[in-house]
C-alpha cells in the first residue's frame, strides 16, 4: 500500500514532465511556423524597396528583357553612377545635413528650456501657452506658408538654405514640447528642489540636474526631429529654388522628372537618396521605436 502510494507520485510527475516537454515542443514548432509566416509577410512588405534594389543593380537591357523582379543577369553599378551625377545627390546630402545639424540642436535646446519652464517652474499663462503650443500639432502648415514666404523674401532669405531654419524651428516645437514637457514633469520635484535649496541657479538645475536625468527623452526627440527635418518637403519647396540649394526631397522630386523613362536609373537614384535615412534608421531604430511609443502612451 505504502509502496504503491510512494511509487505513484514519480509516475505522475514523469507523465507530467513528458507532457510538458511535448507542449514545449508544440509551442516551439508553432513559434517557428509563426516566424516563417511573419518573415514572408515582412518580405512582401519590403517588396517595393527590394524591387528598387533588384532594378538598380541590373543593366537597362536586362530590365527591358526580364522586368523588375527577375534575378539580375549581371551586377552593375553604372545606374548608380549616372544617377549620382544627374541627381546631384551629393549637394542635396550636404544641404540636408547642414540644415539638420544646425536645426536639431537649437530646436532641442530652446524647446527643452521652454518645457522646463512649463513643467517645473511657475510660468504665467501656463495653460494658455500649453494649449497654444499643442494646437500647433493639429494645424497644417499651409495656413502659414504664404506669410512665411513673404517674410523671408523681405529679408532676402528665399532661395537660401538658412531661410528654412526659423520656420523649421517653429513647426518642430509642438511635438518636442509634448514629449519633453511630459517627461520633465515626471522627474521628481524633490530632486529639483534639493538643487535649488543648495543654491543652484535655474540654469544650473537645468543643465546639471534635469538634462542628464532626461537624456533618453532628449536623444529620442533629437533623432525624430532629425528624421522629420531631413524629410521635409513643403517649406523647402516654396523657399528653395536653385539646384545648388536643394534638399534631399527636392532633389528626388526633380530627379524623378528627369529619369521618368529610365527605370533602372530611377530606381538607382531613389535608392541613393534613401540610403542615408535607411542607414540611420538601421543604426538608431531602438531609439526611434521606443521614443514614438513613449511620446504617445505616457501612462
Amino acid at each position: 500500500m505504502t509502496a504503491i502510494i510512494a511509487a505513484a507520485p514519480p509516475d505522475v510527475s514523469r507523465e507530467d514532465s513528458s507532457r510538458q516537454a511535448m507542449r514545449g515542443r508544440r509551442i516551439r514548432r508553432r513559434a517557428f511556423v509563426g516566424t516563417i509566416v511573419m518573415l514572408v509577410l515582412a518580405l512582401l512588405w519590403a517588396m517595393p524597396l527590394l524591387a528598387l534594389l533588384l532594378t538598380g543593380v541590373k543593366s537597362v537591357s536586362d530590365f527591358d528583357a526580364h522586368g523588375a523582379l527577375s534575378v539580375p543577369q549581371s551586377f552593375t553599378l553604372s545606374n548608380f553612377r549616372s544617377a549620382w551625377g544627374v541627381g546631384q545627390f551629393g549637394t542635396a546630402f550636404i544641404n540636408s545635413g547642414l540644415i539638420t545639424a544646425v536645426k536639431v540642436p537649437i530646436g532641442v535646446l530652446i524647446t527643452s528650456l521652454l518645457s522646463y519652464a512649463l513643467a517645473k517652474m511657475r510660468l504665467p499663462f501656463r495653460r494658455t501657452i500649453t494649449f497654444a503650443l499643442l494646437m500647433g500639432l493639429t494645424i497644417p502648415i499651409f495656413i502659414a506658408i504664404v506669410p512665411i514666404f513673404t517674410m523671408l523674401r523681405s529679408v532676402h532669405l528665399t532661395d537660401n538654405l538658412w531661410g528654412l531654419l526659423l520656420p523649421y524651428l517653429a513647426f518642430g516645437i509642438p511635438f518636442e514640447v509634448l514629449v519633453l514637457a511630459s517627461f520633465f514633469r515626471r522627474v521628481p520635484q524633490e530632486i529639483i528642489e534639493a538643487a535649488r535649496i543648495d543654491g543652484a541657479s535655474e540654469l544650473r538645475v537645468f543643465f546639471s540636474v534635469l538634462l542628464p536625468l532626461s537624456l533618453p527623452a532628449i536623444v529620442t526627440v533629437a533623432i525624430l526631429d532629425a528624421v522629420a527635418t531631413w524629410n521635409e518637403l513643403v517649406i523647402a519647396l516654396i523657399i528653395l529654388n536653385s539646384p545648388s540649394h536643394r534638399t534631399v526631397p527636392l532633389s528626388l522630386l526633380n530627379f524623378q522628372g528627369q529619369f521618368s523613362t529610365n527605370f533602372s536609373g530611377l530606381a538607382a537614384g531613389i535608392l541613393i537618396a534613401l540610403l542615408p535615412i535607411l542607414l540611420v534608421y538601421a543604426l538608431l531604430q531602438k531609439w526611434i521605436v521606443s521614443g514614438l511609443t513613449a511620446g504617445a502612451l505616457k501612462d
Binding site: R30, G136, T138, A170, I173, V234
Partner: protein, 312 residues
C-alpha cells in the same frame, strides 16, 4: 516717545517691507521662467502664430502674392471657393483620403501588432521591417510607388503574372483610379505607427489576465474580445486622433505621384492651395483654401489637444 515712534515705524513699515520682499521672491522665479520660455515662444509666435493669423487677413484680399496692392474683397474668395469645381474635387479627395488612410493603416497596424506580439522569434527584426516605410521621405515613397504603378511597371506585371492581366491599368493616368492608387503608399507608410503603439499596449497587458481567463474556460475569441480589445482603448484614441489630424496634411505623395493630375483629378486642399499661390499667383484665394482646411483640422484636433494639455 522715540520708542513708540520706532515701534510705530516698525509696526508700519515692517509688514510692508516683508510684503515687498515676498512679492520680489514671487516675481523673480516668474521672470526666470519667462526667460527660459522666451526663445522658443518667440520663434513659435513669429513663424507659426503670426503667419497663421496673417493668412486669415490675406484670405479676405485679392492679393497676387507679389504686388504691393492688396484689395479687400470681403468674403469673395470664400464664395468663389464654393463654386470652384476643383475645390469640389479636392474636398471629395480629402474625404476619400481620410476614410482610407485612417481606417486601413489602423486595421493593418492592429493586425500586425497582434501577429508580431504572438510567440515568434526575431520579433525586433520583423517589427523594424514593418516600420521602415514610416521613416522614408514621403517624396521618396511617392516616387517608388509612382514607378511601381507605371503602365509597364511592377503592379501590372504582377497582375498579369497571377492571371489577372485583364485588371492591368494605367493606375495613375486614369482620373477614376489615381487618387485611390495614391492612398496605397499612404497606407504602407502609416501602418507602422499604429503597429508600434498597439504593440506597446499589448505588451502592457499582464499575462495573468489570459491565464485566469483560460482557467475559466474562455475561448480565444472571448479572450481577444474581453481582455485584448478593452486594454487597447487608450491606444485606439491616440491612433485615431493622430491619423485624423494627419489627413489634412496630405501633400507630398500627391505632388510626387501625380502633381494633382490628370486634369486636376487628384488635387487635394493642400496641393490646390499651393498651385493657386505659387503657380497662378492667387495668394488671396490660396490662403482662403488654407483657412478652410485649417479650421477643419483644428476642430477635429481639439479633443486630442485638450486631452494632451490636461496631462502636461
Amino acid at each position: 516717545m522715540t520708542a513708540t515712534i520706532k515701534a510705530e515705524r516698525v509696526g508700519v513699515s515692517g509688514p510692508r517691507v516683508r510684503h515687498g520682499r515676498r512679492k520680489a521672491r514671487n516675481l523673480r522665479p516668474m521672470a526666470t521662467s519667462l526667460a527660459f520660455a522666451a526663445p522658443a515662444l518667440l520663434v513659435y509666435a513669429a513663424f507659426l502664430v503670426y503667419p497663421a493669423i496673417y493668412s486669415i487677413r490675406l484670405s479676405f484680399t485679392n492679393w497676387d502674392g507679389l504686388s504691393p496692392i492688396k484689395k479687400f474683397v470681403g468674403w469673395g474668395n470664400y464664395t468663389k471657393l464654393l463654386h470652384d469645381p476643383v475645390v469640389h474635387t479636392a474636398v471629395r479627395n480629402n474625404l476619400i483620403w481620410a476614410l482610407v488612410t485612417v481606417i486601413v493603416p489602423i486595421a493593418l497596424g492592429l493586425g500586425l501588432a497582434i501577429a508580431v506580439n504572438s510567440r515568434i522569434y526575431l520579433r525586433p527584426l520583423i517589427r523594424t521591417i514593418f516600420y521602415t516605410p514610416a521613416v522614408l521621405p514621403l517624396v521618396g515613397v511617392g516616387t517608388i510607388w509612382g514607378w511601381l504603378f507605371e503602365p509597364t511597371g511592377i503592379v501590372n506585371a504582377l497582375l498579369s503574372h497571377i492571371g489577372l492581366g485583364s485588371l492591368q491599368h494605367a493606375w495613375l493616368g486614369d482620373s477614376t483610379t489615381a487618387i485611390w492608387a495614391i492612398t496605397v503608399p499612404a497606407c504602407w507608410v502609416r501602418a507602422g505607427f499604429p503597429m508600434l503603439l498597439y504593440l506597446a499596449a499589448l505588451q502592457g497587458i499582464p499575462n495573468d489576465y489570459y491565464e485566469s481567463a483560460r482557467i475559466d474556460g474562455a475561448s480565444r475569441w472571448q479572450q481577444f474580445r474581453y481582455i485584448t480589445l478593452p486594454s487597447l482603448k487608450g491606444a485606439h484614441a491616440i491612433v485615431f486622433a493622430l491619423a485624423l489630424i494627419d489627413t489634412a496634411r496630405v501633400f507630398d505623395l500627391v505632388i510626387a505621384m501625380t502633381n494633382g493630375g490628370p486634369g486636376n483629378s487628384t488635387q487635394v486642399m493642400g496641393t490646390w492651395m499651393y498651385f493657386n499661390v505659387f503657380q497662378s499667383y492667387n495668394a488671396g484665394y490660396g490662403t482662403a483654401i488654407a483657412v478652410v482646411i485649417t479650421i477643419v483640422a483644428a476642430v477635429v484636433g481639439i479633443p486630442y489637444v485638450r486631452s494632451q494639455a490636461k496631462e502636461l
